[in-house]
Amino acid sequence: MERIGYGKHWPVVAIPIVLLLVFPQVASFYSVILLTEVLIYAIFATSLNLELGYTGLPSLGHAAFFGVGGYTLGILIAKGGIHNFWLCVIAAVLASAVVSSLLGFFSIRTSGAFFLMLTFALAQFVWGIAWSWRSLTGGDDGISGVSRPTPGLTISIMNEVNFYYLVLLFFAGTLFLLYRICRSPFGHVLQGIRESETRMQALGYDTWKYKYVAFIVAGTFAGLAGALKACQDGFVSPAYPSVVTSGMVLLMCLVGGTRIFLGPTLGAAVVWVVRSIVSSYTEYWSFVLGCILIIAVMFAPQGIAGYLVQVRGLLKRARAKS
């Protein structure tokens, strides 16, 4: 696993951070909203990659937790009238943790193909509830009127730029936490499980426990992303926990690269920006995304990030020779 550590690699981390901080001052209004969306999807995709890239569990139902987070926040604000931003976000995160504990309990017994289909089916269950339980979720109309309560210090996040900075804070915090987890012994055990679960068991690891915890952590951060998205959109709908959303986030991980920590973030940026650009010319952005995925799978199986790392490796060797 490529380690973008501190120390001599600090420009890799520092420069993008500076760019991200400066961005809203120089970019257009629309671009700020776009980048906010990218950051939210980056949280979403990086959380999925804890399961997919690190543990080797291909989940097609990750949007279920995105949906739980979004709906929890939406219901509390729009229907419950609770205008405390932090309370609602914490509630959303807790709700996703609970739901992922429940769904994970059933899913983690399986792996590979069966896991893919089971997570998919269970997420559809959540979607079905969102669609049918009109009194709670508004059915296929969803919940609108999700305003953005003040997060404190009298800073209104109705202002898109302020909201962007808040999301940036969550993005940085999430990636920091997840990075720590990935580099920890726990994170390495997950990778071991991905490589050979039988080997890990033969070393004495209770692999079920590790997979379960990874699943819950991943689901919890997905819930955070969902809550933030609900704030941004101002509404929640059954599209949040739908299979289309699960597919989208999986696409982001695959295109960006699952074996590199920042791969999903890159994938989120590429997929979302391509979608936005292409959809301004034509409605057929799905076609473009599908082609990108197939090309990535066939020629850059480690994703764009993986490809870049390979190129960097080749350049280093070439420089060393001369």
Binding site: M117, A121, S132, L251, S286, F287, C291, V297
Partner: protein, 286 residues
């Protein structure tokens, strides 16, 4: 509301829907059983078969030809996919991701070619009416579907049990490595199975189109149903496809009738119950 006639009518509807699900799941099971591939694009194949079949039927004013071409053309798509895309990829997971990309590609091709309005295949006058069973009307076409479904099930069973190719397929499901070791051309087998599975999906799509209108988004809906049927019935089992299909078909039909608010969720409840009692599905290998 609960007289025998209505109940039978509902049951028949559920069974015919189950037949469509069976046709759909059968192809999926074959692909998984022999090639260990989750064909994510299976719902897309269903949709494409419906669209193409309807267009051809309308152009040629020939119902049967439309049905034939609906199935065959999707079979060809499957063939091309397997031959040119899968062959180059060593890992199953990579092949699954390719089918995932195909979903997005076919979705837009369909939207471009056929737009957003629902398409329905018009049945010839002969099949368009209904018969009266226990004083309730029952569409003839649904009976036709039932018959076709049963015939296909029988045909597949005969193919697996009685023909040489079929027994190879069955062996491939049981033990992939052995089949390669005995010297059977695994590449040819894979191509055959994927093409056949795609053909079945397209067939399901066009056969269903008189009663299930095809429109954008149906690819994901159908994919969901296929996965539920396969998980319930058991991965890799044709019997599972039939029993799972019927079970889900009946659950869905009765569910929507008895508890319309809960409607869609009911099949997932069935799924959950089956998974708790028997995690590998009814006929699954465990």
């Amino acid at each position: 509301m609960f007289d025998l006639g209505s109940l039978l009518n509902l049951a028949m509807s559920g069974i015919t829907f189950g037949m469509i699900l069976f046709l759909l799941a059968a192809g999926f099971e074959l692909m998984f059983g022999v090639m260990r591939i989750i064909n994510m694009a299976h719902g897309s194949f269903f949709m494409l078969g419906a669209y193409l079949g309807i267009s051809i039927a309308r152009q040629t004013h020939n119902f049967l030809f439309g049905i034939l071409m609906g199935a065959v053309s999707v079979g060809i798509v499957g063939l091309v996919t397997e031959r040119f895309l899968f062959r180059r990829l060593p890992l199953h997971l990579q092949q699954v991701y390719v089918t995932f990309g195909i979903i997005y590609i076919l979705a837009d091709i369909s939207k471009w070619a056929w737009g957003s309005n629902p398409y329905v295949l018009s049945t010839p006058a002969l099949l368009a009416g209904s018969v009266t069973i226990l004083a309730k009307p029952f569409p003839i076409y649904r009976l036709v579907l039932l018959g076709v479904g049963l015939l296909t099930a029988l045909g597949l069973w005969l193919f697996q049990e009685k023909t040489r190719v079929g027994s190879i397929v069955r062996a491939g499901v049981d033990d992939r490595e052995m089949v390669g070791v005995i010297g059977i051309n695994i590449k040819l087998l894979s191509t055959l199975v994927f093409t056949g599975g795609a053909l079945l999906a397209g067939f399901a799509g066009i056969m269903a189109s008189p009663i299930i209108p095809v429109l954008p988004g149906i690819d994901w809906d159908v994919m969901t149903l296929a996965m539920v049927v396969v998980v319930v019935g058991g991965l890799g089992s044709l019997r599972g496809a039939l029993v799972g299909g019927l079970l889900i078909g009946l659950a869905d039909t009765f569910g929507k009738f008895l508890l319309p608010q809960v409607g869609i969720v009911l099949i997932f409840l069935v799924l959950a119950v089956v998974l708790i009692i028997r995690p590998s599905g009814i006929f699954g290998g465990g």
